[in-house]
Symmetry: C2
Subunit: 453 residues, 2 copies
């Protein structure tokens, strides 16, 4: 309890950090920063600070904490800080890094700096890092650590225990030792808890768990995360294609992948980066947002172009201009519900060619039923408002047409985009809105042109 209380006191003190910073009480700030806070707390604080405070705070962080704080920082911000280090400073900084964290960090640096940093390391460390660097960041290879403790199947538990006792500490997240053959091939896992409850005279082979599925080094990080979630893993072995053990992945790194994957769809659907820095400076933010607004402006012009085709009809019946946004917006809302459901379903691996037919059929039925329901309401309202039953009938028909189109596009589009390797979360919404705008305006204004001509 005391710890929690102290922490929340620390947080309260942190609230006044801003003021302390502003008033220039830097010594006091430094004491709070380096005294009570963990490196992840400091990283969180940096991420929650506007640029000027952020760089002031970063300069106050103890040299020996910098490396650990960097590991917890969002990539965007870390890149900014890293660009200010020299190769020698970097080499000192990263001495105690695990190989996967080190690889993550190095990947953000220019190639020449990477080489300089690698040159400062001893042969064994360099090889380990180069190994991890050789795999793409978003694969099992990029996630793995090489600090595994391995044992042979034919030794006794007692020997294992004596071997472990020669270590001063074990690597973090060591819930299992990895059992390998003489040629370093993966055989099974030996949970640490089994060591504690087994007969010391038993052999590793008798106690080990061979039910574990080793992770191929090329598996995508998203699939690694699904395996960890589905099988409640804490750590898992990573193997090369020939079955040789390369390293292990631990849950702490997987949790980051889960968070990023889950954030991905949310952020991308709004045209933002997954790893968007909430407190990025004005010019950086403006540049990124401008592109997204530009893309959406083009789709808005397409919709306007469609309306422009019906100028004459609108001049005759101005009520069309009043009601037309209803048809377009209801289509957009219905379509984005379907789109979001399908994108989420795809992300968790539920949707495949085997069940997409059923899904399409259900979405069709749902949108047709809801289309008819709300079309009746809108038709009634429009008829009463403009005293024109024809107008009511036209908007009802257009609404049903647009909702059905929205459901079909919302289901098929993300699957199509994925098959083309285009991110459905990023492109799906823009394309969908264009379709529901165009179909909505064409069906409503087109029908009106037919009947009022």
């Amino acid at each position: 309890m005391t710890d929690i209380l102290e922490k929340s006191q620390a947080r309260q003190r942190l609230r006044s950090l801003g003021e302390a910073l502003d008033s220039g009480a830097l010594k006091q700030v430094a004491r709070i920063l380096n005294g009570g806070l963990s490196p992840s707390d400091i990283a969180h604080l940096l991420e929650s600070s506007p640029p000027r405070q952020r760089s002031l705070l970063w300069n106050l962080v103890d040299k020996q904490l910098e490396g650990e704080v960097l590991q917890y920082l969002n990539e965007d911000i870390r890149g900014d800080f890293l660009s200010k280090f020299s190769a020698q400073e970097l080499a000192d900084l990263i001495e105690d890094f695990e190989s996967d964290d080190l690889a993550d960090l190095l990947q953000q640096l220019p190639d020449t700096v990477i080489q300089e940093v690698l040159n400062t390391m001893d042969e064994q460390d360099r090889q380990r890092v180069e190994e991890v660097l050789s795999y793409p960041e978003d694969t099992a290879g990029g996630l793995m650590n090489t600090d595994t403790i391995t044992v042979r199947p034919d030794i006794s538990i007692d020997v294992v225990l004596r071997y472990l006792r020669r270590h001063r500490t074990l690597p973090p997240m060591t819930d299992s030792l990895i059992v390998v053959s003489r040629r370093d091939e993966f055989i099974g896992m030996l949970p640490v808890t089994s060591l504690l409850v087994s007969n010391p005279a038993a052999t590793v082979r008798e106690v080990m768990d061979t039910d574990i599925e080793p992770i191929p080094v090329t598996l995508s990080d998203t699939k690694v995360a699904i395996l960890f979630e589905r099988y409640d893993l804490i750590s898992a072995p990573v193997v090369a294609e020939n079955g040789k053990l390369l390293g292990r992945i631990t849950i702490d790194d997987v949790v980051d992948v889960i968070r990023e994957d889950a954030d991905h769809s949310l952020m991308r659907m709004a045209g933002l980066d997954d790893d968007e820095d909430t407190f990025a400076p004005v010019w950086k933010t403006s540049r990124r947002r401008a592109v997204w607004l530009g893309i959406n402006l083009m789709t808005a012009f397409i919709a306007s172009g469609v309306i422009g085709l019906f100028e004459e009809t609108i001049t005759k019946v101005v009520a069309l201009a009043v009601l037309m946004p209803i048809v377009a917006s209801m289509g957009g809302i219905a379509g984005s519900q379907t789109l979001t459901l399908v994108i989420r379903g795809m992300a968790v691996g539920q949707i495949s060619s085997a069940n997409v037919g059923w899904l399409l059929n259900r979405e069709f039925l749902v949108s047709a039923m809801n289309g008819v329901l709300w079309a009746l309401v809108v038709a009634g309202a429009a008829t009463l408002w403009f005293k024109d039953i024809m107008l009511g009938a036209i908007i009802a028909a257009a609404l049903v047409i647009n909702l059905v189109a929205a459901a079909l596009v919302g289901t098929v589009l993300p699957l199509f985009l994925r098959s083309r390797n285009i991110d459905p979360a990023l492109a799906g919404g823009v394309i969908l809105t264009t379709v529901t705008d165009v179909v909505g305006f064409v069906s409503f204004l087109g029908l009106a042109t037919l009947f009022y001509a």
Copy 2:
């Protein structure tokens, strides 16, 4: 490697499960289902199946697997299955459940059934379950297990080792034992790995880790998840207000919270449930979607009402009807970028009263700059299209006004909604679009009325 290969073979066989089901080869299906697949795989398969196949498959699952499969199922689907069990069947089913999983499951049942099930349990088990049931599901209390292994600080490591060896297995995810006082108050954690590397003659007190912050039983599950993420925890002790140890939370349950929290904003922004069943039947889906469409219809009518105020102006200058969706939609896009960024920032605890002022200022500047940029483009295009420089100037002004309004509402609205305990992800988008539609139409058509009157 073989395991992965076998798994993917199993998956390939699963693809033909649908056909096998259709052709009525149920024995074959049952063999695949209960032979090679883990309970979480079966749960995933059920979640990925349309209703008819889902209930066929569920009937084929081995009785002794049912309980475990239920634990991995989405709540919606689990509720459907549970409603078909009698109290006695339930009691048999849940014999091996951990207390938190059991509480989760019981919370979905009618009170009378819960009582019946509790009556079938022995005194000790009942007390443990009632303890967990007494805390809300979305707090540390609802997440915790009561199956902890505790030790006293004054005994030696050797005694601990001998005590553990009397167990046949340890509870899953036991990375640490919990050190408690004579009165069961939390003192510290004893990592299992420390047991393995410490001198057996040392006392628990000398080896234990007191740096750990115990989790108050009333802490929200979202905050628990943030603690686990920030401090890379595998398990953490849960304490009552008086410091007494109540249980522990393990990372596997926290991962589910992280996934749900991250999905929450995505799904809610589209008006869907976090735990939405992708393959829910037509009637269930229609009902839920109808409500969302109805709410959005009301906002669309508000926008139409605003346009209706300017009917006369539109009759005079029909180009206004053609261009007005551009102003509204650009506002909506800009606003939803800000809204999404703020909602995500709030979810990860980055945004507070200390930095919202800076954020508001940045969003204002960004939207003003982008507003001016794109206003110039739109003004140029409108002037060329309709040969009317006045129209260009009017749409430019309206666009800047709407983008600035969007940025301010997008920043302030989610914070306001949260302070009123309204979910910003659910209500934010609807309110924001209403604002950007109204401001967009009023500024564009209003300015036009002034200048063309």
